[in-house]
Amino acid sequence: MGGYGDVQMIDENGKRADGRTAEEIRPVEINAGIIPVADGSAEVIWGGNHVIAAVYGPMEAHPRKIQKQDRAVLDVRYNMAPFSTTDRIRPGFNRRSREISKVTAEAFDSVVMTELYPRSKIRIEIEVITAEAGTRCAGITAASVALADAGIPMTDLVISVASGKINGVVVCDLNKEEDNYGEADLPMGVCANSGDLVFLQMDGDLSPEEFQIAWDYNMGAIAPVHELMIDALKRSNGGAE
């Protein structure tokens, strides 16, 4: 048992093990302003994932050599807490978290109006408290809300979601069990209003047809998550602004 091919992840009615349809995302809860000492903050509870994000700044960028004369630099850190997974994670950066931090920073560099804050720095801190597949997407979504909560001017909010493939079937937003049998993963970061992409990764094996389905599933998940983000921001501002 437990082999690759004999797992039934989708039944004859097209329902997944947790009852979702192929294009359905897990339940999502978003709250803003959860870190009192931060300039902006948010938490995203996405299925079994729990990710928090804090924003500090804009502040003076130092050391001076990291300053940009015409815009702010984004200092992004993605990190997994030691108790976020079944096997404890030893504290400290690793290659995976560094790469995710880098592509996340580049995603936000495309929407944050950094030109308004020359020579300054905006810190974006993403911490995975509990991991259950899809933490980088939850982290980007949380950071978007935290930036807005901090009042940082942006041209758009970024929502991130991934689709993948299990046993030859394309599904949206894989959970941990599905991810263990995943044959492909396509995480995307999409601007809510413009529909532009600012974050894109992929690994695995997708035919042109499968790739199109995964792409469309991701695009279909953007609007509902965007609504939750707006709702979270309204609640944290007491309905005002």
Binding site: I35, P36, V37, A81, P82, F83, T85, T130
Partner: protein
Amino acid sequence: MATPPVPELLRAHLNQLALEDQRLDGRARFEGRNVVVETGVLPRAEGSARVTMGDTIVLAGVKFQIMTPYPDRPTSGGFMTSAEVRPVSGVHWEAGPPSPEAIELGRVVDRGIRESGCIDMEDLCILPGEKAWQVILDVFAISDDGNLFDAFATAAMAALRTSIIPGERFDVGEDRPLPVSKTPMMCSYHRVGGRYVYDAVRREEIGGGERIHITLGDDNHVHSLQKGLKGAFTAAEFNEIMEHARTRCAELRDLINN
């Protein structure tokens, strides 16, 4: 740690308040913030707690690993504490390897628990000389508005007291609660405006002087002491805060044991 642009102004303000026996947030000298303890908050940890004291929020998570006992103590398990103060928790905490402040935090919390003997290390033995449980306590700051020491120590005890040894997952017997026989608690005091206050907020820490941390076990036994930062205190001052710590630790212990 970052210092404010004009720390002397904050210091002068705190001195002025102290003359009127006031504090920044209206509390009395030895009045603590309201403490909220929630357990079972981390689904991937074998024991966990979240502690909120005003705007200070921390998590503690307990994980278990199987270790080879040390040769000089072949029937003993292990206990390790790691304090992570990630830059998410405040503008003054910077990225990089653990700062001396974070290391001190973890070590002081660790000592209070270890020296109280509340965890029976012999009970953690699985196979003498070959296999024993190692208890790993990770304390993690979400929001630092002062007194991370007490927040960490409180969360640590609440997490340990609700921990389940995952015997089944490691194939070494059944799951069972981690026996924790005592409840050591920590109380921290900062010199602010010339006198000691209990449970300082971040601005009191910045504008204050030295600090003293006291961990008391059941029956008020002293299990760890730590004096931090520049400054000197008198025996009379110490006696005063020790007396307060005895009362306050008992209150906190009741909160954890409820």
